[in-house]
């Protein structure tokens, strides 16, 4: 049966089916092509993880909160300023040095998002993650374009052929097909360029799983830069995950991050519960109980 001989309404159903198939094929082939073994990352750098999860805005938020936590930045309402004791030599990461330079004079916290010098300090993170296959490299972007163009070529080609046949047969009501074709191509384009590769998505999910215990203890994390834990929590889950009283300033400085955290709270709790079997007190008949592992647990 030649699909081009189908009458109008039937052909539209066929074309919708073909579009769905093309879009699914785009997604599946992209996932397969962009999946690779988990790379080794520097997990001592929360900014690298923040960049993976939320690009420049998230990295800058986490860096700002890190400096606030260490007393190197001071928040007054929605404004930030470098503290008197702050010196660019006191910090080692370029993003932190640039933040201290920027806030030598008080300014709105939101100003970090439009500062080109600050954004430039995030470039090394982007490059590292591209090399690791977690963000799309030029080669990956090229492959995405190729797949998209093939899909669009197929959809567009089928639509054009049908339109020509219809016109030849004196049928001029081709607008549904034109609109469908445009919609299909737009949808295909939208799903073809996610920010992360499949490996990048997986890495975020895995890190959120590995650090789930941190989220469960968010209220009790020590502030003041004593440990890396609050900043890793912010990097992996967003600054909105810093729910302890010491971090109340984050909701004033970055209200959208807090809203995003609240919106994702159902996911957060399920991520938290995923630690129930990773806590070493679940499932292990001899390792379970008060201590987990395989030790005793006291009398």
């Amino acid at each position: 049966m030649n699909p081009f001989d189908l009458p109008g309404p039937e052909f539209l159903f066929f074309f919708i089916g073909l579009s769905v198939l093309a879009i699914v094929a785009l997604v599946v082939t992209r996932k397969i092509a962009e999946r690779s073994a988990a790379p080794k990352l520097d997990l001592s750098d929360p900014y690298l993880i923040a960049y993976l999860r939320g690009a420049e805005p998230e990295t800058l938020r986490v860096a700002a909160v890190s400096l606030l936590d260490r007393g190197l930045l001071v928040a007054t309402g929605t404004q930030l300023q470098a503290s008197e004791k702050a010196s660019v030599d006191a910090v080692r990461r370029p993003i932190e040095k640039e933040l201290l330079r920027k806030f030598k004079r008080a300014d709105e916290a939101s100003a970090i998002f439009n500062d080109s010098r600050l954004r430039a300090t995030c470039k090394p993170y982007e490059q590292t993650l591209k090399t690791a296959g977690l963000l799309p490299s030029e080669a990956i972007v090229g492959a995405r374009w190729t797949r998209l163009l093939i899909a669009c070529g197929v959809l567009g080609g089928v639509a054009i052929v049908k339109i020509l046949i219809a016109l030849e047969r004196g049928r001029t009501n081709v607008w549904f097909l034109v609109i469908l074709t445009i919609v299909a191509i737009v949808v295909a384009a939208l799903i073809s360029f996610p920010r992360l590769t499949e490996s990048g998505k997986t890495m975020i999910a895995d890190l959120q799983n590995l650090y789930a215990g941190l989220k469960d203890r968010a209220l009790f994390l020590q502030s003041g830069g004593a440990t890396i834990e609050p900043m890793m929590l912010a990097a992996v889950f967003g600054v909105g995950a810093l729910t302890g009283a010491h971090f109340g300033y984050t909701s004033v400085l970055f209200p959208r991050a807090k809203e995003a955290a609240a919106a994702n709270s159902t996911c957060g709790s399920s991520c938290g519960s995923s630690s129930s079997c990773s806590s070493s007190s679940c499932g292990s008949s001899c390792g379970g109980g008060c201590g987990g592992g395989c030790g005793g647990c006291g009398g």
Partner: protein, 300 residues
């Protein structure tokens, strides 16, 4: 190689190998461990926590294994029993090993169930020919099903196992010498048993095949008492005590092969820096032991 740590090189058949030092993986310690992988050579994951875990949790373990070497540690097989280990439990371990590809796996020479009753902890079995044979049969099956023999760990016991006709060193040695398994020597378990049952841990070390030790566990414990009786409990909730470091130095002086030393901490977690400091102390103990062995070799 850990920054600032003393690398202890052991020349084995012309290759340079290095002793390694790691921590038990606990979610509570995740951030600290992952931020300090330059000072941690390996992590040990409790396997049983992942036997029934959903796919995404196992995948996260694979990601962990990409960051640092991982070894899996089982706690519920009950290998040292006259009763065969249930195949489904070995299948669980096999599946997890296939998914995570750890560099090794280990279990305890304990029994953990009997007559349908789960003891809920590792119990020292009667030290008899039957439990030796049972353990050897279980180890052979474990190797067949999982694909590689496990390292096997000595257990701490609060009770002198009734029905025993030999001491722990003899029993352990018989199993190690007649199997393909290497020994995971838990030095706090040795220390606790030595105190509780009045034997010399150095004499124990002299009796066992130290050349078969692959891994060492370090942990801490506390004294417990009831009705006037006191025993040292291996609870994994305290810092590694001095005598255990001394035993570690002793092992390092006697064992020619490289060692993997892992600190187990299951609760009352100190700051990660404290655990890393204990790991550094373990490095120093091994270093001293190796230096002593070298001196003795030169003198001989």
């Amino acid at each position: 190689m850990a920054v600032g740590a003393e690398a202890v090189a052991v020349v084995v058949e012309g290759e340079m190998n290095v002793d390694r030092f790691g921590l038990g993986w606990r979610p509570r310690l995740a951030a600290g461990i992952l931020a300090n992988l330059d000072r941690i050579d390996i992590v040990e994951v409790i396997a049983d926590d992942y036997f029934r875990a959903p796919r995404h949790e196992r995948r996260a373990l694979q990601t962990l294994a990409a960051q640092t070497p991982v070894t899996l540690h089982g706690v519920s097989l009950g290998l040292a029993s006259a009763v065969p280990v249930q195949t489904r439990r070995l299948d669980d371990m096999a599946r997890l090993c296939a998914a995570v590809a750890p560099e090794s796996w280990s279990e305890h020479l304990a029994f953990v169930r009997g007559g349908g009753i789960e003891i809920g902890h590792l119990a020292a079995p009667p030290r008899t020919e039957a439990t030796i044979e049972g353990a050897l049969a279980n180890l052979a099956r474990a190797k067949e099903i999982v694909g590689v023999a496990p390292h096997v760990e000595n257990v701490a016991t609060l009770i002198d196992p009734p029905g025993s006709d030999r001491d722990e060193a003899a029993w352990l040695s018989a199993i190690i010498r007649n199997s393909e398994s290497k020994l995971l020597l838990d030095l706090h378990n040795l220390h606790a048993n030595a105190i509780n049952f009045n034997f010399n841990p150095c004499v124990f070390l002299a009796k066992i095949p130290v050349e078969r030790i692959a891994t060492i566990h370090l942990a801490g414990g506390k004294w417990i008492g009831r009705n006037g009786a006191q025993r040292l409990l291996d609870d994994h909730l305290h810092d590694v005590p001095d005598p255990v470091y001394e035993l570690l130095e002793e092992v390092a002086a006697r064992a020619p092969q490289t060692l993997t030393v892992i600190i187990e901490r299951d609760g009352k977690f100190p700051a990660i820096e404290s655990l890393l400091a204990q790991l550094d102390r373990a490095r120093q103990a091994v270093s001293r032991g190796r230096a002593r062995a070298l001196k003795q070799q030169v003198a001989a």
